[in-house]
């Protein structure tokens, strides 16, 4: 059998390097890279989901798993082990979709396009790596590898305080990564796993005493919580989003936040079950605080991007909640929600980017009634906002519905908090739409153009994905539930 994952990795790597070196052809190279990537991932996804009847194949363990020796140490073996399961496959699909959408959206990027497209590809490469890595070191390597291109993406291109934001992002998330690494290594060594392979660690670590697991889980949780981000470790996020170029924001919200969720599912919950159970009160508290905080603070934001950033905190809080439920339905909901949020927040950030360069500002009160002048843009904003607030027939709905159902099932009436917050979430989006899209035109310069075609195609792709999986969430669900994770048939 062909080592599919390494091949994808190699193609992505070759494409990334070529993009960096391609000069003014960079965007074409990036487009080709992302198209190939999407085709490869799409093929994997379809074969896995059993389209068109979509009867999920239940593959025990990880599919496409390959392992090569990498670093041999007397006390442990580090392998280059990669593989996918349903959960990672869905997130890989998200990566591929976002990459091509970002590349197309940024088609006319003029400031150092080679570096820009190269960094975009590199970020996606790193995310892909995180999702396929089945080895502690490999996982951490890709995890950190995402950081560097994102640091440059934030720092070089747009906002006035971008340097500060990039620095904050880098330092903050790196500190968290290091704590996470300590936790992972301690897990490996205390459990006596002889290899850093996921299978070895996941087999050995549950044998640790619950007390040890509790502390280890906390370390891992902190590492992932910053990426999530969970209140109060979130303050890097709004700054990073506000200052990043659109492509950076898209990847930041669409991919980077998902790394935290994926990491938590794969490397913490599965590996340290007893610690997880002990620390669940903390997880829930963090989730509830994030859900409420993200939504309420969004309401007070004037900057469109900042608002969407805080809404991300709210959504990722729900993801954390769903993960914390420790049920198969919760897990399903968490992954669905991550996919949904990845697509929808990307769409919203793209809209915000277009608003910014069309009107020269993202200040919500400063512009109003833009719909007659830019109907397509207004439509995109509306689609994003409605999907984000969980409207049926769009991807957000099945995700949030399952998440809330799982919450009810796991926590009973505590579901009232996320449910009640849904109203606040609706409120800030609807209010934003009232102020920006409707009413008499305000701050709309004459002679502006509607969404240019490349941005339209980028956003349109995401809208299409939103609708497709909103109507047929089963496509994703069948893939997710075939994973070898607790309660799913793949176990």
């Amino acid at each position: 059998m062909l080592p599919l994952v390494p091949i994808v990795l190699a193609s992505l790597l070759a494409g990334t390097v070529a993009t960096f070196l391609a000069g003014r052809w960079a965007r074409w190279v990036a487009l080709a890279t992302s198209a190939v990537f999407l085709a490869e991932v799409g093929g994997m996804f379809l074969s896995y989901s059993g389209w068109p009847g979509y009867n999920a194949q239940s593959v025990p363990g990880f599919a496409e798993s390959v392992s090569y020796p990498w670093i041999r140490l007397p006390w442990m073996q580090v392998n280059f082990t990669v593989g996918v399961d349903g959960i990672s496959l869905v997130l890989i699909l998200l990566t591929a979709i976002l990459q091509i959408a970002t590349v197309v959206y940024s088609w006319k990027e003029t400031k150092n396009p080679a570096a820009y497209f190269g960094l975009v590809s590199l970020t996606c490469l790193g995310s892909f790596g995180v999702f396929v890595a089945l080895d502690v070191l490999l996982f951490f390597l890709f995890w950190e590898a995402v950081l560097v291109p994102m640091f440059f993406l934030i720092g070089v291109w747009r906002g006035p305080r971008r340097r500060y934001a990039a620095l904050k992002f880098f330092v903050y998330t790196h500190v968290a990564s290091i704590v996470m690494l300590v936790g992972l290594l301690a897990t490996v060594f205390y459990s006596g796993a002889t290899s850093l392979d996921f299978s070895a660690v996941a087999a050995a670590a549950p044998g640790l005493s619950p007390v040890v697991q509790t502390f280890l889980f906390l370390a891992l949780f902190f590492g992932f919580a910053v990426k999530f981000p969970i209140v109060p470790f979130h303050t890097w996020l709004p700054d990073a989003h506000v200052e990043a170029p659109t492509g950076g924001s898209v990847l930041l919200a669409g991919l980077l936040l998902k790394l935290g969720g994926y990491g938590l599912i794969r490397w913490a919950v599965e590996v340290l079950p007893a610690g997880f159970l002990h620390d669940r009160p903390i997880v829930f508290a963090a989730a509830f605080v994030s859900i409420a905080w993200g939504s309420v603070v969004s309401l007070a934001q004037r900057d469109l991007k900042r608002m969407v950033a805080f809404s991300s905190i709210n959504h990722m809080g729900i993801v954390l909640l769903a993960i914390g439920l420790d049920s198969s339905l919760g897990l399903l909901a968490a992954v669905l929600l991550m996919f949904a949020h990845g697509i929808v927040s990307a769409l919203l950030f793209m809209s915000a980017g277009t608003v910014h360069h069309t009107f020269g500002t993202r200040d919500i009160p400063a512009i109003g009634g833009i719909t007659p002048a830019t109907p397509a843009l207004a439509t995109m904003i509306m689609a994003g906002a409605l999907a984000s607030l969980g409207l049926p027939a769009l991807i957000g709905f099945p995700a949030e519905f399952t998440a809330l159902l799982a919450t009810w099932n796991g926590l009973g009436y505590l579901v009232l908090l996320p449910l009640g917050i849904l109203v606040v979430t609706a409120a800030f989006y609807i209010w934003m739409m009232q102020r920006m899209l409707f009413g008499p035109p305000r701050g709309v310069p004459l002679g502006i153009h509607d969404v240019p075609w490349w941005e339209g195609v980028g956003m349109g792709l995401l809208v299409a994905v939103t609708v497709l999986f909103g109507i047929l969430p089963g496509l994703l669900v069948n893939v997710i539930t075939s994973s070898p994770v607790k309660g799913f048939p793949g176990t």
Partner: protein, 530 residues
Amino acid sequence: MSFAGTVGPLVPEVIVLAAALLVFLLDVAGARRRELVGAISIAALAGALLVVLADLGFLPLAALRGLPPSVLNAVPAAGSAPLYTFGSLGLVFQGLFLLAALLVATASLSRASDERGAPIYYGLLLLATLGMLLVALASDLIFLLLAIEVTSLATYVLVGYTRRDARALEAAMKFYIVGALSSTLSFFGASLLFGAYGTTNLYALRAVAGSVGYPVLALLGYGILLAGLAFKTTLVPFHAWAVDVYDGAPHEVSAFLAGGTKKIGVFALFLVFLGPVLYVKAGGGSPFSGAPFDLGPTVQLTLAVLAVVTMTVGNVLALLQAEMKRMLAYSSISQAGYMLIGIAIGTSPALAGATLQVAAHVLMKSGAFLVVAAAAAIGVGPKIVDWQGLGTRRPWLAVAFALMLLSLAGVPLTVGFVSKFVLFSAAVQARGFFVWLAVAGLLNSALSVFYYARVLKVIFFEPAPGPLPARAGDVVGAAGPTPLGAGGIGYGRAVAIGVAAVLIVAIGLYPQPILGPIQSAAAHFVAGGA
């Protein structure tokens, strides 16, 4: 033992010594062109490096092998007390020293070719390297300290060799005074050990470390010796000289000091302290009771405290540094703390990790200082803010520097990450309070990210304030605007920086080829002679 038998194993040392003498002779003879003496030095260092690699057993180089395999890692017979032996860990360090010297020598080719004192410079560089090579072979405490002094004396002069630069001379003065004080302390400590054990042979010391006859005397000796060696290794609080010296010295010399000579202190600590560290005699007790007591843990704890203090102080001091070289100097100090962790733990994985950290540091820190030299050559000032816009003006140089900084910060895909990973995983694997050592180290590396990222921010995100001057040199005696090759930084520097950057990434991606030999060397080192 025949003459050939004596010299055969010492081929690298002989090559370096001969080259040094040749360079001095050429100086006397009036042939002072930098290109000439530089080429000789580089050839000698490269040759020595090849021989060392061959001795280490890299197969394609077997023909160059000067060291009989029987000698390698041979433990001296009981009752014999050789001054030097050939351990593979020593050879690894020799390789690293030669690599550092080679990088510096290559980069130094880009200094003004008619600069006064080029032969002196290269001659001293070779002499210092010779001392370093001898350190790596030492099996006797006095031999070790004298070898260190060979390097020290050469570098004191090297720092101030231009004799025209007040800052460099001030640096040399400080270097000398603190260095002489430290060497005095080292010898005094050695004398106490000699008094306690009746020998200065390191193998013998390791063997008798267990039967501490006079624990107070021995511990005092080890303590004073530690203070003396800590000077070279730049452990806090023995570090203060290093910042000023790295700052004031010519950039290439800074690269050599930080990337090269500092590591002899590390290896000396390995040699001296492995014995006490490995001595485990449970039962507690006090050093004043006269009875055997927990020497091992005591020494380990002391070293660990020093390591943590060194890492932390170095990082905290680097945080707000406004000058690039001083920032690098403080970061170099904090890195020394990581290396100390290896000997504090004393297991072969930990020593391997520390050795890898040394290797990484050779590449990162020499490389970083050479980038400073290159930047100075194109008119970039000494302050960090002067580096604004380098990312757009000299993207390749900036990317190389970014790689080095990221490696120093321990970001994956670089050698700096691999070394920290191996080191800290060894610490965690050793359990006990070493886990906290690893935690402290990792937290420190998190702290360090702040100032590395700040530099990256300045280089890549902030626009250049204005056009660079056509050629402004840090180079004393630079005459006329003859632009250097490779975009103004000089081919020598370009090659050295390029090699360092490529190695940083290559080892970061696939460390096995270098990690394997280091591991087996460390295992031999721990197992040998005890």
